[in-house]
Amino acid sequence: MDTWEFYTEKLIPALNEGLWMSVLIIVPSAALGVLIGVLAGAGRAAGPPWLRRVLDLYVSVFRGTPLVVQLTMWYYGLPGVSRFLGSILGPMGLPEFTWRFLVLSPYVASVVAFTLCSGAYQSEYIRGAILSIRKGQFQAAKSLGFTDSQTFWSITAPVAMRRALHGCGNEIIYLIKYSSLALLVTIQELTGKSNALASFYFRPLECYLLTALYYLALVSLATFFLRWLENRLRVPGMGMAKTG
């Protein structure tokens, strides 16, 4: 097989399949991660003390342990919990789904792991952005008769969004790259495919180089979009961090 054919017939079609799988993991993980980050970040910045403590615990666990460990726990660890639950709930006559739901498919385990980890980091940016809003902004809103929810939607949210955008964008770019860990739970995404091809054809250099280019393209696309968004939302003098 000559090199050109190897590329067009084998490598590229296989990597394209892997790319599609990667996108299927990255997009929902990023979207849900931002959502969780916003909720957890707002809760940590402005919630009641008990909620803050719960959310701080969530963040310290998910930021404080390696993602590989989290991912393998979701996929390989939970079935053990499920068996244990089953041994208790089964004899009690409960239906099987009450413990079977803990056995996750590789895809669900990956999305759950990436979402929760990403959400923990996102919440840091959101929390910091909310806490950085000067007290005077809230006082002014109060003095004009804003209710708490009017203040949140008119002041807190638009300002915090701008302040957090840069950090949240960076986190999404990390997510694109750590999505490759999904190969550890048997998913044939970009890196998984590339691994398989490299060992099958004994051509690791080409396989991995091309894979790297695929990731570079994904990251460039995300960077371009984030930059566009930052420019659209840019407000003179608001001290939004510049995209590097």
């Binding site: 004009l144 701008r162 003098g237």
Partner: protein
């Protein structure tokens, strides 16, 4: 009495426009306001002066119910803020405007949106009408040409004028001003004082914390001198300042020694 507009003769029947009754406030375990009472009739302009830490800002915030007093009540046209309850406190605040020392414009909005946003979100005025109103208010403070600029693009004096326009757009019954010029470079103070003087001439009821005694003495009806959480002297500026034994006169002469004006 200078500055008192027609339509509110002294001793007019009916309650004062605003009456703060026996306000006390404790902050950080310390008694910051100690049984302060103060009232303004419609169209009156009163000034609050006193040493730093005497509780002037705290008093304004209590009158506005931005800080809830620990004791006492504020009545606006006879309506009690305490009786209004927690749920309606926003409606109470809406009737009063506040000008802050450091402007507190919304950083993410243009001058025009700063003025329009409360009209739209709080008063639910339709967008086009709110924008037109905002332009009108900016025009009144001489900033129609700056409507599209963000706070970071305005000078301090311009920011303060926008914040006055923002408060005025809500048609407040009472305006509270907390050292509106003390964060400004000297050459920018005049433009803001001009706008405030115009409000006074227009009959706006105002309570202002200021150390600009030269400005105040010709415009205001009363000076209230605060110390340690109490108003310890009150009276017409000419009377207070003419009496060399008054605390107000001593304080003001020390001020002018320090700042070197008047």
């Amino acid at each position: 009495m200078t500055g008192r507009p027609e339509g509110s003769p002294p001793g007019a029947a009916g309650p004062p426009l605003m009456e703060a009754r026996n306000i006390t406030k404790i902050l950080g375990g310390k008694l910051i306001l100690d049984d302060v009472s103060l009232s303004l009739n419609r169209g009156e302009f009163k000034v609050l002066i006193g040493p730093s830490g005497s509780g002037k800002s705290t008093l304004l915030q209590c009158v506005h119910f931005l800080l809830i007093p620990d004791g006492g009540d504020v009545l606006l046209e006879g309506a009690s803020a305490v009786e209004m309850g927690h749920k309606n406190v926003c409606a109470f605040r809406r009737e009063i405007g506040m000008i802050f020392q450091d402007f507190n414009l919304f950083d993410h909005l243009t001058a025009r949106d700063n003025v329009a946003i409360a009209l739209r979100k709080v008063k639910k005025v339709p967008k086009a009408a709110a924008m037109a109103r905002a332009m009108g208010e900016l025009e009144r403070v001489g900033l129609a040409d700056k409507a599209g600029l963000y706070p970071a693009q305005l000078s301090g004096g311009q920011k303060q004028r926008v914040s006055i326009a923002r408060a005025m757009a809500m048609e407040p019954k009472l305006m509270l001003l907390d050292e509106p010029t003390s964060a400004l470079d000297p050459e920018l103070i005049g433009e803001v004082l001009n706008v405030i003087a115009n409000l006074a001439r227009g009959g706006m009821t105002m309570l202002m914390v200021t150390h600009q005694i030269g400005f105040a003495r010709h415009l205001v009806n009363e000076i209230n001198f605060m110390e340690d959480g109490r108003i310890i002297e009150r009276g017409h500026p000419e009377a207070l300042l003419a009496d060399p034994a008054s605390r107000t006169a001593t304080f003001c002469s020390r001020l002018s020694e320090l700042t070197g004006n008047q």
